[in-house]
């Protein structure tokens, strides 16, 4: 049951009721965590980056414009935070190499080896994509955002997003079948 919309909550936060950020955290932290996890392949880094998003929401709360969807603004902050992180990291590592270490929740004992292998190949393929393609793919296919929502986040048209997503899928598919 959601009494307040995201935007109503964020306006309250903007006006100094910081505690109203908790319901927003509960709504979005898991999604953001998975967004960063697919981008960084590191659980620790992803945790830090999620924390960073909510920290920036507090710090920049006055800049939130209630005419825009909270979700769009949040993803914009998340993208900025990731590119800050990525730029800082670039000097140290040429690329993310610990893809194989990514822990996938697996409680089903009878889950087949094939499925695990497919999953591994998918992550490996994902890591081979350029950052821009990976990002658009994550937003559209893993985070389930609609093309027009992604357009608002990336500041481009719905049609352009569709083209980008389709291209990224093809790139991913080619990489996947090279591995798998």
């Amino acid at each position: 049951m959601e009494i307040y919309s995201d935007e109503q909550l964020m306006v309250k936060v903007k006006n100094g009721k910081l505690e109203m950020l908790t319901p927003l955290f509960d709504r979005y932290h898991k999604r953001l965590y998975n967004f960063f996890l697919k981008l960084t392949f590191s659980q620790d880094v992803s945790k830090d980056l999620v924390q960073n998003v909510f920290y920036r929401i507090i710090k920049y709360r006055k800049t939130y414009n209630a005419e825009y969807k909270f979700k769009t603004w949040m993803y914009q902050l998340a993208r900025n935070i990731f590119s800050d992180h990525y730029r800082g990291q670039k000097a140290k590592f040429s690329d993310y190499s610990d893809v194989a270490n990514i822990q996938v929740e697996d409680t089903d004992a009878v889950e087949s080896i094939v499925k695990r292998e497919k999953e591994k190949a998918l992550h490996e393929a994902l890591s081979r994509l350029p950052q821009e393609k990976r990002e658009v793919l994550i937003l559209s296919r893993f985070q389930g955002l609609k093309y027009d929502e992604i357009g608002k986040i990336l500041n481009c048209s719905e049609g352009a997003v569709k083209v980008k997503v389709h291209r990224a899928i093809k790139h991913l598919k080619d990489a996947y079948f090279e591995i798998y």
């Binding site: 945790k47 710090k59 998918l122 389709h166």
Partner: protein, 267 residues
């Protein structure tokens, strides 16, 4: 249909975005063309694998860390509210001016009221219009008085917010708001002024002032407010000021990043 167009539609087919008619055509092609069939099967597999992905569950410590952070931010905010912004000397100054301010406000109300009566009597115009004008005039005078006076930061924010009631562009108010945006000592007042000005961002004078202010502001919060506003207004003339911000060694990294994003979005 060409092979390339067919391949374009395969993802739409899997996503269920095609009309029945298109589906029939496409399925025929898939059945008759080995190449396309393979492409279709591969796409179906990769998209299926993605759909099977389960969201990873973050550790509980993420939530606990968040609550910790929130608590310390709340403490900080509370502290900031307890400590008055202005020094003791100013508080005394404020007390001395308060009766004057009240007198000024009352006088303005009376003048406004009289002006209204005068409007009503001497004008054949619609009475309603006269009332609106009178109210606007009173609001305007109050806003101007508070912005110019030595009032406290919260009073100045109130005055800025009162300017929202003015639905029409007003030159004098605009000048006062621009002045506040660039010269008020309090960050929150400056941000409030920027937000108030953004309501009139279709006015060339306001746009120019907002762009120019990028070169004046030193506080990161104010800088970011302005940068976001430029992007919202799609004001590409701001690019040069944004570039200056990026180059300036005094600009903090977060602001540089925002400015860089702004440049990309605007150019």
């Amino acid at each position: 249909m060409k092979d390339r167009d067919i391949k374009e539609l395969l993802i739409d087919l899997i996503d269920g975005n095609l009309t029945d008619e298109e589906k029939v055509v496409l399925k025929e092609r898939i059945a008759s063309d080995k190449n396309i069939q393979r492409e279709y099967e591969e796409l179906k597999e990769i998209l299926g694998t993605i759909d099977e992905q389960v969201e990873a569950e973050p550790e509980e410590s993420l939530r606990l860390d968040f609550l910790d952070m929130l608590e310390s931010e709340l403490d900080e905010l509370e502290k900031a509210l307890e400590e008055p912004n202005d020094s003791k000397v100013k508080v005394i100054g404020l007390r001395l001016t308060t009766p004057l301010q009240i007198a000024a406000a009352v006088a303005l109300l009376i003048i406004g009221g009289l002006a209204g009566i005068w409007f009503m009597k001497s004008n054949t115009e619609d009475a309603e219009l006269a009332i609106i004008r009178k109210e606007m005039e009173v609001t305007k005078q109050l806003v101007m008085a508070s912005l110019k006076n030595q009032s406290s930061a919260s009073q100045r924010i109130e005055a800025v917010n009162a300017s929202y009631e003015l639905s029409q562009f007003d030159d004098e108010i605009t000048d006062a708001l621009i002045n506040t945006m660039n010269h008020d000592e309090n960050t929150n007042v400056r941000i409030a002024a920027i937000e108030a000005l953004s309501k009139f961002s279709n006015e060339e004078k306001v746009r120019k002032a907002l762009i120019a202010s990028l070169g004046v502001q030193k506080n990161p919060l104010v800088q970011i407010t302005l940068i976001n506003l430029m992007v919202q207004m799609k004001e590409d003339r701001a690019v040069k000021e944004l570039e200056n911000l990026v180059k300036d060694s005094e600009t903090i990294q977060t602001v540089k990043d925002e400015a860089q994003m702004g440049i990309i979005k605007l150019s």
